[in-house]
Structures are given as structure tokens and as C-alpha cells.
Amino acid sequence: MIELDAVTKVYQAGKVAVRALDTVDLTIDEGDLVAIMGPSGSGKSTMMNILGCLDVPTTGHYRLGGTDVVGMRENALADLRNRRIGFVFQSFNLIPRTSAARNVELPLVYAGVGRRERRDRAREALARVGLDGRGTSMPNELSGGQQQRVAIARALVTRPAMILADEPTGNLDTTSTREVMELLVELNDAGRTVVLITHEDEVAEFARRVVRLRDGRVVSDARQEALRR
């Protein structure tokens, strides 16, 4: 259970204060697949950063699995990100000049998992995203779609409860978009909560629930029959 309770985020940009999120209340059930939509600048990434414990709300509360994240120390937040959250970014964000397998292993390194187990789990995760045998490839030797799949493998290798994806298909063509979305749906079917940001309707069609933001507020929140499964 993920709960945003009157969350407000104010950025100080020079002298003007930007209200990126304005008293947002939102509850996301475990195992749901939620798409967050909205025009540019509406606060989607801000919300994702807060959900991912990369940033803390200016006011309000964020409860993840019952514990309030606000007021937690930096190390506790790092551990929380490491164990409970998997990130997928629009620009893939793989570590350059580091092989796919090493990239996938990295969260496990920080989790203190032993070498052998790390290697096995990384191989497993890569196989799961259809990249078995590509572990030794460097990011720049992979296509965009493949890089994003490596990123998904990295996000799922720690078996997190929640996967957060900020425009995961923003840099991909139609085929790769489909592949990536099918992967996310598959993970969701396996019981993981998936929150994804998008402004493509075709992508949102994969979601069970669509939340729309505008100027930092939730303007609509609708469940839908997942259209494309």
C-alpha cells in the first residue's frame, strides 16, 4: 500500500516558488498498474521522485508499506530504494562502459549480496527480459530497446515491491515500446506494483488505472479495463 497524504512539493526557482505538487492525496494498492499522465510541467516527475524516495515532500506524508518516509535518514532512504523500489528511466541511465551484467548486478552489490548469487540473479534477470547471452555487452553496443530492457532487469533483480518508470518508452520506437510494456505488464501480473509516467495514450492503455495531473493537482483518477493485454 502506497499512500500520499496531502503531499505538497515547492521548488524555489530563484525568487519564485513553484508548486510542483499541491496537496495531492493518492493511494495505490499493491499489485496495481497505474499510469500517471498530464501535460509537461504538471508535476509527474516530481511525484515519481517522491514515490521513489529520491526526494521528500515539502509538507504532507508519504507512507510506503505503512511507514512514513518523511523524516527518514539518508541511509534509510537509500536502503529503502535499494530493497523496495526498482527504477526505469526515460534515458535508460545505465552506467557507461560497464557491461550489462554488471549494471544489473549493481543494486545487489549495494544490498550486500555475495558474488556468486549476484551473478546468478543477474543472469536470471537478463534472461527474463529476453537478453540471455548479452550480459557482456556494453551499453553503447545495445539498441535503445535493449538498453531499456537491461534497465528493467536491473529494476527487478532485487525483487522490489514497486517498479517506478518515468516515461520508459519516451525514447523508443513502436516495437520496442510494445516489448517494454509487455515486460512491465508481465511483472505486474507477477504481483509487482507498477507506476508509470507517460503521455502516450497507447502506453496508458496497458494500465488498470490512469491518474491525470495538471498544475500539481490530481484532476482525474479512473480505473479502466486494461485495453491491451
Binding site: L54, N75, R81, N93, P107
Partner: protein
């Protein structure tokens, strides 16, 4: 995350930027190698000096003055020498070796004459003054007592009479003054090279005229530390024998050679220190290079740091990684520098004495190796500290947004 894991990450980071890592370590490599080589050179010169002049450390020379404080000077005599060699009055004196010297001429039978000087002394003279024989032998106590007409030549007369051929000199007959001597040995060059060495009695009977006068006494102290005590004993004995109350009334001069040795040694140390300081500057410049690269690295890899933090790296893990990167970089540079420095010093120790005769071979100082390696590690820590700390403090969202 263990330090071991952090080291692994650091190594991977360095390997991802091979060329840059290599160039960065170059500064450290050159600095460390320079320190080691220069210290080795300085060391070599110093130990070469000690080897050549080390016997001076325990030597006290007593010279009879040319002019008396009160009319004609009192000579030093055999009796004085015997008094100095007294284990009760002079417990810190090991030996007192008399020298009676004066100008003489040398010639081969029928050849031309050359001016030189004679040193009439005892059989122990070469040991006391640490002179080495090139060929032949020193006269022995029997020859000394029997006033044998034998001579040991220094390079000067060998040059004059035998065109420098020591082998030809050995066994030859030479005339010293008007007396025929047999050459039984040739000593190596030391700087006091225009001399022929004969038994004391021989020199007195045939070359200098009789009497028991001695021009110089070479006194050897028990150890370099005992030199001041020995010097005090020597002056006490001689003052007593010459009935002197005031040092100004002495007709002799007693000098510890040690002080001269110390002065030269100190000057050499200063010179070594200066050259090492110059080398140390290059080590520091190398350190600044490491700091510079680490700063660039942190800026350039801001996004990477953001990714690492997003997937759960604690502040400490980032700090460790970058600190270890710079320390490994500097430590590796230090190791290569040591190999290079020791290699160069060893090569120089072989090549230099061949190229330049008498050049003292460099001697690698273990301390200089340890210290310069320690300093390069320290440079890694210090130069990496600030950038690593900056990296660790980056906020993940800001780092991720960085282009």
C-alpha cells in the same frame, strides 16, 4: 558493502578510463622514481665518501709545529709516541703510529731524478691510514727493526719512474737519495700520492739523518664516539711532556679528522636534502594532478553517481568508491614509481662506474622507498578526499538531472 566490493567498483571505474588513469599516475610515477633515484645517488656519494675517508672518523693527527712558541720548536719524539700508546694514560687510544718525513729524490739506476717525499713509518701504517695496496706488500716488523732497504711506492713516483706501470715497479731497484731500495709494493691513489713509504729506522738512517724526531703521529681512537676522549688524553699526555699549561704554548697541533669528515658529510646531506626536495615537488605536482582528475571525474560522472544513489548506494559507498579510486591510482603510481626508481638506480649502479671511473654507485635507501610510497598513498587519500566527499554528498535527483 564491504571495502573489498568498493575496491572492485573502484578498479572497474579506473579501468573504464584507462588512458586518463594512466596519464594521471604518470605524475606520481615520475615523482616517486625521482625521489628514489636522487636519494640513492646522494646515498651512494655519501657512502663512497665514507668508504674512502671512513678511517678518518677515528683518526687524530698530531703534527709537530714548524715554529716554536718560544724559540726553536720542541720535536715530537719516539718517547712521545710511546707515551701516547699507553693503555693506562690513554685508554681510548688504540694505536699511535709515528711518521718521520721529508723531501727526497728518486731515480732509476742511471735515470733522471725526481723530487718526492719519504714517509718513514711502522708496519701498521697502511692499516691505520686505510691505504690499499695495488700490488706487492707492506714491509713487516722484522724489516722495520732491521732497517731493511725496502720501499712501497705511491702512484706519483710510479708515474715518474715506471710510466705508471705498477707491475714493472714491483721488485725493481730504485735509488732514494743515494741509497738503493727494493720496491716491494705499490699503494692505490688517495690524493696523497707523491710519496715513498719506508721503514722508520731506514728513513732516519739513510734519508733524513739520525735522531728520534717524529713529524707526525697518527693516533687511532677506539671508536668514532671515543674521539673526543682520546683527543683529551692525547693533549693531556703531550702537554704534560712538554710542560705546557696554556694551549698557546704548545709546539704541536692535535686535530681530530672527524670534525672535517662530519662537515663534509653534513654538506653532502644538505645537498641530498635539496635534490630530494626538488623531487618531492614533482611528487606534489603529481598529487595535484590526481586531485584535478578526481574533480573532473566526479563532475563528469555526476549522472553515474545519481544512478548509483537511486539504486541504493549509501553515501559511504560512493565516498569509498571515489576515495579508493584515487588511492589505488596513486598507490599504483607509487608501485610503478618504485619499480622504475629501483630499476634506474640499479642500472646506474652498474653503468655509471663503468662510464665514469670512481663514480660512487647509487645505493637505494629502503626508507626512501617506504616513505615515498606512503606519501603517494597519502596523496591519493588527500587528493581524492574532497572530490569523493563532494560526490557522496550529491543529492540523487540533482545528480540524475545533471547533463
Amino acid at each position: 558493502m564491504t571495502v573489498w566490493e568498493a575496491a572492485r567498483l573502484a578498479l572497474r571505474g579506473l579501468r573504464a578510463n584507462k588512458l586518463r588513469s594512466g596519464l594521471t599516475t604518470l605524475g606520481i610515477i615520475i615523482g616517486v622514481a625521482a625521489v628514489i633515484v636522487l636519494v640513492a645517488l646522494g646515498n651512494g656519494i655519501q657512502s663512497g665518501f665514507t668508504e674512502s675517508f671512513g678511517s678518518l672518523a677515528t683518526q687524530i693527527t698530531v703534527n709537530a709545529n714548524q715554529e716554536g712558541t718560544n724559540g726553536a720548536p720542541r720535536d715530537l719524539t719516539d718517547a712521545d709516541v710511546a707515551a701516547l700508546d699507553d693503555p693506562v694514560d690513554a685508554p681510548d687510544v688504540v694505536s699511535a703510529t709515528p711518521i718521520a718525513g721529508g723531501p727526497v729524490t728518486v731515480q732509476l739506476p742511471g735515470g733522471s731524478r725526481f723530487r718526492t717525499s719519504v714517509t718513514g713509518t711502522t708496519a701498521g701504517y697502511l692499516d691505520v691510514t686505510d691505504r690499499d695496496l695495488v700490488v706487492g706488500r707492506m714491509f713487516d716488523a722484522t724489516e722495520e727493526r732491521g732497517k731493511a732497504k725496502v720501499a712501497v711506492l705511491a702512484p706519483g713516483p710510479v708515474e715518474d719512474l715506471f710510466a705508471g706501470d705498477a707491475g714493472a715497479a714491483l721488485g725493481s731497484e730504485v735509488r732514494i737519495g743515494r741509497t738503493a731500495f727494493r720496491v716491494i709494493g705499490v699503494v692505490a691513489a688517495t690524493g696523497q700520492d707523491d710519496v715513498v713509504i719506508t721503514p722508520l729506522g731506514t728513513a732516519r738512517s739513510f734519508l733524513l739523518g739520525g735522531g728520534d724526531a717524529v713529524s707526525t703521529v697518527v693516533v687511532v681512537a677506539r671508536s668514532p664516539e671515543a674521539v673526543p676522549a682520546a683527543l683529551a688524553q692525547v693533549t693531556a699526555i703531550l702537554d704534560d711532556r712538554q710542560s705546557v699549561d696554556d694551549p698557546a704554548e704548545r709546539d704541536y697541533t692535535a686535530t681530530a679528522q672527524q670534525s672535517l669528515l662530519d662537515q663534509v658529510n653534513q654538506t653532502l646531506s644538505f645537498l641530498t636534502l635539496f635534490t630530494v626536495a626538488v623531487a618531492a615537488i614533482s611528487l606534489i605536482v603529481g598529487g595535484i594532478g590526481v586531485a584535478n582528475i578526481m574533480l573532473v571525474t566526479v563532475t563528469e560522472r555526476t549522472r553515474e553517481i545519481g544512478i548509483r544513489k537511486a539504486i541504493g548506494a549509501r553515501r559511504r559507498a560512493i565516498l569509498q568508491q571515489f576515495l579508493l579510486e584515487s588511492t589505488i591510482l596513486a598507490g599504483f603510481g607509487g608501485l610503478v614509481g618504485i619499480l622504475l626508481g629501483v630499476g634506474l638506480s640499479t642500472a646506474a649502479a652498474i653503468a655509471l662506474p663503468q662510464a665514469i671511473p670512481d663514480f660512487p654507485p647509487p645505493v637505494v635507501d629502503v626508507n626512501s622507498v617506504l616513505i615515498s610510497f606512503g606519501i603517494s598513498l597519502l596523496i591519493g587519500l588527500v587528493a581524492g578526499g574532497y572530490p569523493a566527499n563532494r560526490a557522496a554528498r550529491l543529492r540523487p535527483i540533482e545528480a540524475l538531472r545533471f547533463q
